[in-house]
Symmetry: C2
Subunit: 370 residues, 2 copies
């Protein structure tokens, strides 16, 4: 069994995973120690501090869940939803749709308010909808990875709280690439993933939960119907003096996350955001110079996830295959209704470098010529 | 933030994580590639083949879930339990108790049949209990990590199927250290973890599911109330031609698992089992030579997890701390009712080496003298 031998350095310019920072690889291969080892507890404590900074929150309970970004979404809803809860999901892409599915499976009474994919959630429409019912939860995706659209999470937070609901924000793709600022946008629960702008492999879901959401969690009529992701127990392992064993933490992935967060903070958050924006502008310019267009209105574009219209008559999958086979560059396909219509070019974390931007543009130019 | 610098090679002789094989560390640090990259699909395919061998099954659906061993337990119950299902859990330690909790939270009508901790589940008692109701599911832990007891999974399988129930077996600690043989013991769903006898860090839960269980899964009246762990969707990513994206696989952990499974199969399963047994006997002999005793009856002992009675008047935590501080050896404490009464010495996977056995015995001898 030797498929591992085929693995080689690849320029990951899809919707994630993104390129991993060399220091993260080093950290992944550090010797495994025990999940109750005092040295490991220190690593956990430092991660909480760094995550709070990057997520822009003072929330005590700010920690990585032991699963990928999708486990973060599952954790958000399974901890806060009780059967019959009225949940409003603001949808403008695949990941909003996924929220609907996750919440419905948990027995929530879910309504989705859908906006045209490729355009942002409109706060005025939300303001009206929010008055229709006594929602328990309103949820939105900050950076919709399926379309490359940025949603106005700050305006929505105020609306949600005026209505007395809890506010769940998906920051899987945004964290580290644009400001998330959990406290400023008033998110009650916000989760992310490691494999986007944090330059770490997939496997963990940073999550933060504030007082209002903790209060709902603690006052549930029924236990969280998911032992593995029950935040009320997981926090006893991550906080306090006792550090009660819950499940065995994914030690080496946690090392990787520690290194990744350090790298982000050493660069500086403003600098990281500026780099993502600059590389995005460079990419747009490059793509336009070879005749490609971006379907999303410039003011709503995400810097780290660029939807690009597939030109008429072009076999989009063949282009992606050629990029991978000839240039060792991975870009993403469209999902759902956008399959075949767009490519998704990611500029996330360590991927967001001049050389990568210039390479993907020149590679696309060469391949599309043929 | 520099807590990572404190990490150093540690001899992990607790209940897991165990020592990681050098080839696994190398694999963890291989360049991340995409989760839909054809090279990654090959790695997944090889993992399925290797896992089937090690788990002793022909089940098509044999794959790692994206979470730790506890996520495997969660996946087992959440996929197979529907609200109101009658579930019988055979309990003789912490992990049996955890099964009860996981199943109850999912709305199952759970009964636990408890046996004295430190003794095995008794098939004669089970045979009677099983006739009391039309159970949908019977579950047991193969290697009870909290006590070091091996349960007779082969005899139980027959009883469960005579009664027409589905049989869930937890092989978190047993897999790779003693034969699991899923098909021979007639397990309908069996899950494990990477951080025990597979010599890989924690983070994945190998799981296999057979025809009967798949049939129950496919005929559920309601969707699996856990999107992240829904095997019916995950199998579409791991099987077949289309490889539909579900969630982003934890790429580098999957590399690590591939390397770990290769290492196990290169040594050979019979050889690996013999090594665990030999090291266990060497450890028992060593411990007895310094006056320590093991509470579990020899015929029911697990080779990879050895419960050791804490001598009267000894501060068990101080001994563990001294082992870690002075000898860089981690051993485990007792859990639940056994806290303070036993140590747990693991001989799992790469940890099960002569040098480690001899070192822990001589270290204990030195520390206990003082």
């Amino acid at each position: 069994m030797n498929a591992l031998q085929s693995v080689s350095k690849t320029i990951l310019m899809g919707p994630g995973p993104s390129c991993v920072h060399p220091r993260v690889y080093e950290a992944l291969a550090l010797p495994t120690i025990g999940h109750l080892d005092p040295r490991f507890i220190n690593i956990m404590d430092e991660i909480k501090v760094m995550l709070r900074q990057i997520m822009g929150t003072k929330n005590e309970i700010t920690l990585p869940m032991s699963g990928t970004g999708s486990a973060g979404m599952e954790a958000a809803f399974v901890n806060l939803v009780e059967r019959g809860d009225k949940v409003l999901v603001l949808v403008n892409g695949v990941f909003g749709k996924r929220m609907v599915e996750v919440a419905r499976r948990l027995g929530a009474d879910v309504e989705e308010l859908e906006f045209t994919w490729g355009t942002p959630v409109d706060p005025d429409v939300v303001a009206k909808k929010i008055k229709e019912k006594n929602w328990q939860i309103v949820a939105v995706v900050h950076a919709e990875t399926s379309t490359g659209v940025r949603n106005p999470v700050e305006q929505l937070g105020k609306l949600v709280h005026e209505a007395g609901a809890l506010y769940i924000v998906d920051a899987v793709t945004s964290l580290g690439g644009i400001p998330v600022e959990v406290d400023a946008i008033e998110a009650d629960l916000c989760y992310s993933g490691t494999q986007k702008c944090l330059s770490c492999p997939p496997g963990l879901a940073p999550l933060t939960i504030g007082e209002r959401a903790i209060s709902k969690l603690k006052n549930r009529a029924t236990k969280v119907p998911n032992w593995y992701l029950d935040i009320s127990m997981i926090m006893d392992y991550w906080q306090g003096a006792k550090r009660a064993y819950h499940h065995t933490a994914p030690i080496n992935m946690i090392y990787g996350l520690h290194a990744a967060l350090s790298v982000v903070l050493e660069e500086g958050l403003p600098q990281a955001y500026a780099r993502h924006q600059e590389m995005h502008e460079r990419l747009v310019q490059g793509l336009e110079s070879i005749g490609l267009t971006l379907p999303v209105d410039p003011q709503f574009r995400l810097p780290m996830l660029n939807a690009v219209t597939v030109p008429d008559g072009v076999d989009e999958a063949a282009i992606r295959r050629a990029l991978l086979d000839t240039y060792n560059i991975e870009i993403g396909a469209g999902l759902g209704p956008l399959a075949g219509k767009i490519w998704r070019i990611g500029l996330m974390g360590y991927t967001a470098q001049k050389e990568n931007v210039d390479l993907v543009v020149s590679a696309l130019k060469n391949i599309l010529k043929h």
